[in-house]
Structure formats: C-alpha cells, structure tokens
Symmetry: C2
Subunit: 232 residues, 2 copies
Amino acid sequence: MAYKIKFDNFFSYSFSLDCVIFGYEKGEIHALLIKRAIDPYMGVWAIPGDLVYPDEDLADAASRILIELTKVKGVTLHQGQTFGKPDRHPQGRVITNAYFALVRKEDINAVADSWAEEVKWVPIRETLQLAFDHNEILESTFELLCQKLKREPICFDLLPEKFTLNEMQQLYEYSQDSALDKANFRKKIKPIPLINLDEKQKNVKHRPANLFKFDFERYSELVEEENYSFRM
Amino acid sequence: MAYKIKFDNFFSYSFSLDCVIFGYEKGEIHALLIKRAIDPYMGVWAIPGDLVYPDEDLADAASRILIELTKVKGVTLHQGQTFGKPDRHPQGRVITNAYFALVRKEDINAVADSWAEEVKWVPIRETLQLAFDHNEILESTFELLCQKLKREPICFDLLPEKFTLNEMQQLYEYSQDSALDKANFRKKIKPIPLINLDEKQKNVKHRPANLFKFDFERYSELVEEENYSFRM
DNA sequence: GCAAAAGTGTTTGGATTACACCCATGC
DNA sequence: GCATGGGTGTAATCCAAACACTTTTGC
C-alpha cells in the first residue's frame, strides 16, 4: 500500500455540522438563519453551523452548536446529507453534514449568541444569498423534509400543538406545491390518530374550526400492534 | 467567540468513504467485501473504504477507492449516511460516509488489490462480523437501498441486462421480504417502460420465460414530457 | 401424461377524485 | 343577508388483492 501523502497528513480535515431548523407559520415553511459576525463571510446570512469537537458525537455536537448560536434547545435533530467539495470552505478542507429539525415557531425563542450577530426566520422559497454552499444545503435538506412529511408523522412537529385541519392541509399543500380538495384531504387523514379537542378557533370572522391534537400514544400503539404506517 | 481548543486543532480529523456494492443473484442481494491486509482489523472482512485525499471531491474519491481495492470501475455511486462516533476508528477521529452502488454481478470482476487481501460477495442477510462499525453501515445502507428500489428504477442496475419478469419479481420479494402475487405484480409494472425482446430463456426444464430489457430512453422521455415517476 | 413455471382474465372491495351542498360566524 | 371558510355526502372511477385458469416446455 502506498498513499500519495503521509498517513498523518490525512488528519488535517475539519468537520462541521449545519443545523437547518424548519418552522411553519401561516401556510409557509421557514428556516432559521444567522448573520455571521466572523470571517469568512462576515455579515452574510448562513445556516447555523460550526465545527465539531474532536471527541464529540455528531448528534451531541449538532445540539450544542444550535444552542450556542441561537439558544434553541430541546429539538430533535435528524441527519441529512453530507457536503464535501474540496473548496467549499476558504480556510481548509471542511466537510459538513446537514442536520435538520422541525419546530413550532411559537414554541421557541431564537436569540443570536456567540458569533451569531442576528437570527431570523426566512421563508424557504425566498431566495437569499447565503454563505458557503448553504443555498445548496438548504435546498437539498428541504427536499428531504418534503419526502419525510409523506411517510412520517413529523408535520405535527411543525404545526401548533392545537391545530385546525385546514392548517394541516395548508402545510401539505405548501410542501407538495399543489392544491388539495378539502373533503378528500379529510378522508385521507382518517387513519391518522387525531384527538378532536372539542375546542373552537377564536377570533376568526367566519365559522370557527375545530382544534385537533396528534394522538402520539395511540400512534405508537398502532405502529407496535397493528403495524400501521403513516402515509400522506 | 471562544472555542475550547485552538482553531488549528480542529484540523485534525480524517475523512473516509466506504463503498457498499450491492449485487443480485438467484433471488438474493449480496454485498462486496474485502479482507483487510493491514491494521487495524487486519484479516477482518470489511466494506471497501479508505481515506479521502485533501483535495479530492467525495464522489471522485469513492470511485478511486473502489477501483484501488477491488478494481471495480464504472459504477454509479450514490451518497448514503454519515457515521461519526468519536471512537469508531482506533487511530483517530475518522468520520466516514457510506456510498453505495448497484451492479450486475456477472458484469463485474472484483479482484483484491492494494491492501485488500481478498474480495468476496456475501448475502446481505448473512451475519458476519465486520471491521469497525461496518455492520451498522451495511445495515443502514441496505435499508436505504430498499427505500430507493421503491421510487427509482434502480432494480435494473441489479438485474441482468436481459431479465425475466419473475427475476424482477423475486428481487422485489427479497427487498420487501414478502411474497407477491404474480398476476398482480405484472399489472403493477405495466406503466414501467420495458422492451419485450421476444427472446426466450434457455436451459430450463419448464416453459421458458420471455426476456425483457429496461427501456431507458423511453423512461427519460416519460419523465421529461409526462412527468412520470417510477413507483413500486 | 405429469411437473413446473409462464402467462392471463375476472371479480370484488376499498381508495381516490370531482363536485355539490349545508353550516356557523362576523359584520 | 352575505361573505367567508368549516364541514359532509355522493357517485364515478381507479386500483389492488385474491384466485382461477390456460399455456408451454422437459422428461
């Protein structure tokens, strides 16, 4: 065996994680971004991300980085794709892995911290020039999200805890980029365990809608005992 | 901003790729493995994988590594998951990314080279103790493959160029781990563009089956013009 | 003729679609 | 009363599952 470089020289890479946080509000999916207060790309908007410590597990690092930059904690992060073009980072070979989470925007309070100067939510379909290859990362990860929304009950992480069926429908219309028939949508979600809270929407100038909640316990039961699988 | 270690010390990682090569034969999916001729894990079976050069793109590196270790070339490699437990490699922090490919076993001739002492095909459901965390990588990647088989016409990469409908059915039965009805299977694949070659199977002691070929050109057309999407 | 697998047709029930209609609320 | 969205029913159609049946080959 003969490497073109010395073995030790292979240990010259760095590894970072970028945390794409998706939130939903008024029919649109948003992503949480930070404005970088350090070089490279100082002053440019970016996905919150940073380097992994040498002894740190990836999932732990993702949580830590998100907290350090935005003070957002307690969210479930899922692994996404890896991005590793040799020139993607001006300071050296940095390979990055996207992690993503789905949150209720009203439940979290993102605050810029550490080297993040500012945080903001941006509608995912709004074009904005991001640092590094973050536009590519954001797009790919959003596509992954749309795929997952079809096969896993993660829409309830994005929706408010108490939601109307119309809100749920709008989320799917947005993610699939197509209009859905109301009556048919309701028939389609029949197998999904939802609790009708017998509570009404307030402050609307039309007939108030019923509020629902995802029945997570029942869902777990169904998966266990009747090998139910979520489909949309 | 204050890192717990000096910035330069972050550039102490290494990054590797593991190439999971899936092949199909007689109703079973196999993976190509190598026996390691170097430490760590000398003499142990492993997924062919190695370190990425500092200036190398990931996809290029995957092809190179596969060729170096097994002389297998010209296959399409797809990115899979990343594995990065801090202690997964005894010689330092090595984060790895699985790449996978689907091949026709009869088309390729894998030969051990470089620090690979031996190569062999192993049925994916056969338990064998592999080096590092390769058992986990292999399992996860196989699951990813099964998902992809449902939504992309990649089964034709695994099947012989000329295949019978029964061979195709068996591949899906294996990947979904369930028996399928022959008549229904044939109805289901009606929308998939296949060319009936009007050739018969040879040397079988029963009625010979027709041979088919995937009509890739027609498939591309359908995708372009009628936004067809492959489903199984 | 028999075994074995190839290959096709029919029936049935459940899901999907399109569309029409009624209901409750604010103003 | 009317605008607005909430909520439901029906008929037509498509699709998937179950199953039976015919065909072609080797021996």
